[in-house]
Amino acid sequence: MSLFIISHLTFQEAARRKILLAALLLGLLFLIVFGLGYHFIIQGLEKDLGSSGLLQLNEARNFLLMAGMYVVNFLVVMMTVLTSVDTLSGEISSGTIHTLVAKPIQRWEILMGKWLGFAGMITLYVLLMGGGIMMFVYLRSGYSVPHPLHALELIWLNALILLAVSLLGGSKLSTLANGVLVFGLYGVAFIGGWIEQIGGFLPDQTASQVATNIGIITSLFMPSEALWKRAAHEIQSPVAAALGFTPFSAGSYPSLVMIIYSILFLLVVLGLAVRFFDQRDL
């Protein structure tokens, strides 16, 4: 099927352009730095707290893992957008796409083939990075977070959405404009999420409600920050959850409805991307 030829081509291109190698090496470096930091911090705490401080130790483990996952989520977002932002617009502007489209292939197969190819890479990257630090913590301390797989799935879903938005932009805009669009939307969702989070602590009910609404509305435009908050909720310790606030997660977290909305959002964005690319004069 032509779709899989394009997926394979997308993968092959990333491999040939040394993108996969760079991501792998820097990913390993990230894991080493995290591992060293984690090891020595926990070792120090183990000495100080002794066997009586298991609760505090687990909180520290959770906190460090949460910090690691926060960075992983950020890196996944970056990698997703940077690798995919040029794939359509670049081939359109250079004319490389002409020989592809002039074959017995439908445009949606090209777009979905690319999406699938990048989605495959993202999957591996999420597993390597997120799975890597969780695995390290488990092997080092025998500690695991409440719902590790849920968290990885949500980070993954977030990346798949950004990938779809990046392809949607690429079907209409130049590479630079597309980059501005995707990171711009991500930034809006990001600040919206923080406003909601900080607003949650305001004593004034009205102000707090406004802040919450801002957060909800921005997450409807781009659910990426909401998905991270839900992922953070899945990995945070029950104690931190009871306290209601850590630097990396929120007291309130998005419901299951938000996740369903995100999946629908992904489908709609992909549908629009196919439609726009289909109508595009090349």
Partner: protein, 307 residues
């Protein structure tokens, strides 16, 4: 799809990009097995027309068919080969991989593809470079690999968009030879070019396009058979003898030992030769020259180039 449908048939295809009309009323019919030249100055809408034929650009109006199948039906492109202008390809692929990719896209079974790829690499003279990345290719080599790519599927119709622009004489010769081979095999060729000498030696019929409009379609035969200019080297060219030539031509000119005149038909040349010999003129050479396509192009399109 009927077996005798035309290779290309369009009715009133047009394309506007916003206010700018790139193509208006493109009505063409190209027979199977024909080598068809599409001529016009830069910016006349040639590339946009080609892109509409391949569904790269969707027309603002009109309709078109390849072998009786609507342009928008992607399955028809299984039978088409296309070489885009500028020859921009996935340059991180090796030559052989590039052809394998496009063979896959044509759904050619792997075993057949391997054989076809080595045949084509041979044809375009790139066998020694099959393991080189396209990034390392010169423009001429890219054109060759692009041509090979357009022939992978033994196409019934090959569309070449400015296949020789910016190429050295060897590259142009290759394109010409390939077009000749295709004609022999009965393949239809649609050649979009502004290099008239190319068209002159390869095409059966030509369409002239200016400001997005087809202004004339003629067979090359009828175009060049029309007027013939003749140069004769002979002596002595006495005025009374020269005057006698006005029977055949109104514009006779003498320049040194050379006689120049134009004829409506080549058929009069033997008569003229006989006339000269009978009047004691020694004829060293008679050189009939057809009006070049370039002259015709200027006549039809105008010197402003349609700008």
């Amino acid at each position: 799809m009927s077996p005798d449908s035309l290779a290309i048939e369009t009715h009133g295809l047009c394309k506007a990009f916003g206010e700018k009309v790139a193509v208006q009323d493109l009505t063409l019919s190209v027979d199977r097995g024909e080598v068809f030249g599409f001529l016009g100055p830069n910016g006349a809408g040639k590339t946009t027309s080609v892109k509409m034929l391949l569904d790269l650009v969707s027309p603002s109006g009109g309709e078109g068919f390849l072998f009786g199948v609507p342009l928008t039906d992607s399955t028809i492109r299984k039978r088409i080969g296309f070489l885009p202008e500028h020859f921009r390809f996935h340059d991180w692929l090796k030559a052989e991989e590039f052809l394998a990719l496009h063979a896959d896209l044509y759904h050619i079974p792997k075993v057949n593809a391997r054989k076809r790829i080595s045949e084509l690499l041979d044809l375009v003279g790139l066998t020694p470079h099959s393991q080189k990345k396209l990034r390392e290719f010169s423009k001429g080599m890219l054109q060759r690999i692009g041509l090979a790519q357009a022939l992978l599927n033994h196409p019934e119709l090959v569309i070449l968009d400015e296949p020789t622009s910016g190429l050295d004489p060897v590259g142009r010769r290759l394109v010409r030879d390939i077009i000749h081979d295709l004609r022999e095999k009965g393949t239809t060729v649609f050649l979009n070019s502004h290099l008239l000498s190319e068209v002159e030696v390869t095409c059966d019929r030509v369409a002239f396009i200016k400001r997005g409009e087809v202004i004339q379609i003629s067979s090359l035969q009828s175009l060049v058979e029309g007027e013939t200019s003749v140069e004769v080297r002979a002596e002595p060219l006495l005025p009374e003898i020269v005057n006698g030539l006005t029977k055949w031509s109104q514009n006779v000119r003498v320049d040194g030992g050379h006689l120049f005149f134009t004829l409506d038909s080549e058929k009069n040349i033997p008569e003229i030769n006989q006339y000269l010999v009978e009047h004691g003129v020694e004829v060293f050479s008679i050189h009939p020259q057809h009006v070049s396509l370039e002259d015709l192009f200027i006549q039809i399109v105008g010197t402003d180039g349609g700008l």
